[in-house]
């Protein structure tokens, strides 16, 4: 993966000659190398432009003026999206959510993030490019204090509005690790088990149990992987943790590594957050210098643990733990069939624990304050706090660390949101709920979320501007392995489009719903199993929106349009379509 990324960054694509060399060196066929390249959004066999502009096209970006910004880019650059200018200087690319929903519209240009774009800023950017400026010169604006640090210097803001009792509590780093290594690994695993810490990525698997399973499969090598591939549209809390609390995360990793017996921890960082890599590497070096990482850490002769960062290359499904592992091995990020689970055979076929960034950040305080302290926060089945990424129609989009159990209503008040039509709880893979659900609580036992909370106002066109693009998102991001996830999603999209075009009948709504439900359990991974959730949950909660679009006086409506069908042949022979209708 690193080889391919290096070539991409150097040559703005992976040239045919390079594919040949990589194939020869790795003793693979050409098509084998190309199958990896074509899997990832940020790798390309064709030139993407000396300045490749990847503009977020998620619904949240559109809420904040993405359409105008895109138009400005096209006008200024003189090229339409998903194309490169004739001179090869500028390429414009539609890109799935880049983790900046609190400061959209945003784009990544040659690895550098540009936020809160407007047509004026676009002009300045393109002028800078045409004048031959380096991208760092063009992006001279710097956000707040932490983001202006050396090795970082970015215009990305952190937007932390509520600092909670766990991740954002005051702490002196190093203390938890020192306490941890004074105990046995089994004691640590037990403490985390008792604390009822559950995975914060979305699935909510008990963390202590995962560690225990890994220990049961112990081999000469075991790995700890930190999943920093938050790709769910609307989530960005991990970006903020990585900027604000990297020491806490790495300390959590060191404790987890000690608990499972891993000598190596790897952070799988999504390519969208590439700009954080030099900064994080600098933090790692500082921690090595302080003997918190590396050999004989925390003054213990027998304990070695170090961390490296592996970049992804643009794929939502790599946030699924086994897809992530495949990607780390330099392959297409297709989720694996399970069993075996990663704790049995993971990275390089060794037992592997994959934990989410936020999950690992909860570990140091559990070690320091004890499981009971942690359990006292939150609800019965959801212990501790949760970091929410709130975006959309609210006054204060940003990151909030709150105890589990807060209601949606309380959340909306907190973020300054009113006149709300819907909330995407957990992003598109979660549920799209209406106000009758707003008194429900945010928790694993009620409305679960990995952190994405997209607030949608009453003035928005929910089906056209959210449900349809979310469905397209899953189609685009499907690895394509499983038949229903690859193909049924397209059938559903077409059906939804038919309804949106006013060609639907009641039967179409029922079919859309039933087909979506039926395919759900048939897929291998979480993406496939939740890909139809935008459609399913919007029909459950917003059926009148669908009903308003359909023809009620007819049982059946043909999608076939004679005029469209003959347009091409009429043009070829120079005729005007002459359609007889009754």
């Amino acid at each position: 993966m690193d080889i391919l990324l290096d070539i991409q960054e150097e040559y703005h694509h992976i040239p045919s000659e390079a594919v040949e060399i990589v194939a020869d060196q790795l003793d693979l066929s050409r098509v084998d190398v190309e199958q990896t390249i074509t899997f990832y959004h940020f790798l390309s066999l064709k030139p993407v432009g000396k300045y490749a502009i990847y503009l977020n096209d998620s619904p949240v970006a559109y809420m904040h003026g993405r359409a105008d910004v895109a138009q400005a880019f096209e006008q200024e650059a003189g090229v339409t999206f998903n194309n490169v200018t004739d001179d090869g200087l500028i390429g414009l690319w539609d890109t799935a959510d880049i983790g900046m929903s609190d400061q959209e519209p945003a784009a990544i240009i040659n690895g550098t993030v540009f936020t809160e774009l407007d047509p004026t800023k676009v002009k300045t950017i393109i002028r800078g490019i045409v004048d031959g400026k380096e991208i760092a010169e063009i992006a001279e604006e710097v956000a707040d204090s932490i983001n202006s640090k050396d090795h970082l210097r970015t215009m990305v803001k952190n937007n932390i509005h509520v600092k909670g009792a766990v991740a954002f509590a005051d702490y002196k780093y190093g203390e938890a690790l020192k306490k941890a290594v004074s105990q046995t690994p089994v004691q640590i695993v037990d403490e985390v088990k008792v604390s009822n810490l559950r995975g914060r990525g979305g699935a909510g698997f008990p963390t202590g149990l995962k560690w225990e399973y890994c220990r049961q499969n112990f081999e000469d090598e075991v790995y700890l992987i930190c999943n920093a591939d938050e790709g769910e549209p609307g989530t960005f809390k991990e970006r903020v943790i990585l900027t604000e609390l990297p020491e806490l995360l790495f300390e959590g990793m060191a404790i987890a590594g000690y608990a499972i017996g891993a000598k190596e921890g790897i952070v799988y960082l999504r390519y969208e957050y590439r700009y954080l890599k030099p900064y994080l590497e600098n933090v790692l070096q500082q921690m090595r210098d302080k003997n918190l990482l590396g050999k004989k850490i925390a003054g213990q002769k027998k304990i070695n643990f170090d961390i490296r960062i592996q970049l992804g290359a643009g794929s939502y499904v790599c946030g699924e733990e086994s897809g992530l592992i495949e990607s780390m091995e330099g392959k297409r990020g297709e989720p694996r069939n399970r069993p075996p689970f990663p704790v049995e055979k993971g990275y390089l076929d060794k037992p592997t624990v994959v934990n989410n960034v936020e999950t690992l950040c909860k570990v140091p305080s559990i070690v320091l304050n004890g499981a009971d302290w942690f359990k006292a926060i939150g609800t019965k089945e959801s212990a501790g706090t949760k970091l929410l990424s709130i975006s959309g129609d609210c006054q204060k989009p940003g990151v909030y660390e709150v105890p589990w159990g807060m209601t949606i209503n309380e959340m909306l008040d907190m973020a300054g949101a009113s006149d709300i039509q819907a909330v995407e709880v957990g992003g598109p893979s979660g549920s799209c709920v209406d106000s009758t659900h707003f008194s429900r609580s945010i928790s694993f036992e009620d409305l679960a979320t990995g952190g994405s909370m997209i607030v949608i106002g009453k003035h928005r066109d929910l089906l056209r501007d959210f449900i349809l693009p979310f469905t397209n998102f899953f189609i685009e991001e499907s690895c394509g392995s499983c038949t229903p996830c690859r193909s049924l999603t397209i059938i559903l999209r077409n059906k939804l489009t038919k309804i949106l075009n006013g060609k639907g009948t009641k039967n179409d709504i029922d079919e859309l719903y039933n087909w979506a439900l039926q395919g759900k359990p048939a897929n291998r991974c979480g993406l496939g199993q939740t890909a139809a959730n935008p459609i399913i949950t919007s029909i459950q909660n917003f059926r009148p929106l669908y009903e308003n679009l359909i023809q009620t006086d007819q049982e059946y409506l043909s999608e076939f349009n004679m005029e469209d069908a003959v347009a091409e042949s009429c043009e070829a022979v120079g005729r005007i379509p002459n359609i007889h209708t009754n």
């Binding site: 066929s29 050409r30 038949t483 193909s487």
Partner: protein, 232 residues
């Protein structure tokens, strides 16, 4: 260990015995129970991609090709819910590609066609997509018709030349398709091309300069439905 060192499990109430660790689909076959699949080939690492072999294991939907049998496992196979799911998956395959059975060289030997007969598919419930797919005919002895490809990954997993993969995926999601390494495929002999055609469960990989060799009546699925050699 209950019988000759084999473990006991059951499929639709029928007591079965197999070696521990064997996949449900292979273990079922040993016990005379057919579980449908279009991407499984005994002895080849399962892909779990067609999803036809989904069974219920202790109530959970799992693919039989990737899940090993365990002691006293309760497997449901021929139940209405799964029959309906399988039929729908076959229909999805038919509308996603362009499958014109009457003119296809593989007709009568095609597993997708045979599966549609087995599940009594008359028409599909889904609208056809009429997708546009390229045909690749560069190598001397082979051509690849992507209109008929169901992306089962069998060619990718099984067909090698000089130890390298001749076939691979390209793209993802909606754009996923199979590509041939033209250099390697061009070096394949007629026999190897024939073998490749036989590995393909549908008519996507075909040997050039031959067609309709087996007369109607003698083709694989002319007289008995797919799976009937296993079921007893």
């Amino acid at each position: 260990m209950t019988k000759n060192g084999k473990i006991h499990f059951e499929i639709d109430g029928k007591p079965c015995y197999a070696e521990k660790g064997k996949s449900i689909i292979d273990a079922a076959k040993e016990n005379g129970v057919y579980i449908p699949s279009l991407c499984h080939y005994e002895g080849v690492k399962p892909a779990g991609s067609c999803r036809l072999c989904n069974v219920k294991v202790n109530g959970r939907t799992m693919t039989a090709c990737t899940t090993p049998v365990a002691e006293d496992m309760v497997v449901e196979n021929e139940i209405p819910e799964l029959t309906e799911l399988r039929k729908s998956i076959i229909e999805i395959m038919f509308v996603s590609g362009n499958h014109f059975c009457p003119s296809c060289e593989k007709s009568g030997n095609c597993e997708l066609q045979a599966m549609a007969y087995r599940y009594q598919m008359m028409v599909t419930r889904y609208p056809y997509e009429f997708s546009i797919n390229n045909v690749d005919a560069v190598p001397d002895h082979l051509f690849l018709d992507r209109n008929r490809c169901i992306l089962c990954k069998l060619c990718i997993r099984m067909i090698k030349k000089d130890g390298k993969n001749v076939f691979a995926f390209n793209g993802r999601g909606e754009h996923l398709h199979v590509v041939m390494d033209e250099q390697l495929a061009s070096q394949m002999s007629e026999e190897e091309a024939q073998e490749a055609m036989e590995i393909c469960p549908v008519g996507a990989i075909l040997k050039k300069e031959q067609g309709f060799i087996v007369p109607i009546g003698s083709r694989k699925f002319d007289k008995t439905p797919i799976g009937s050699d296993i079921n007893n």
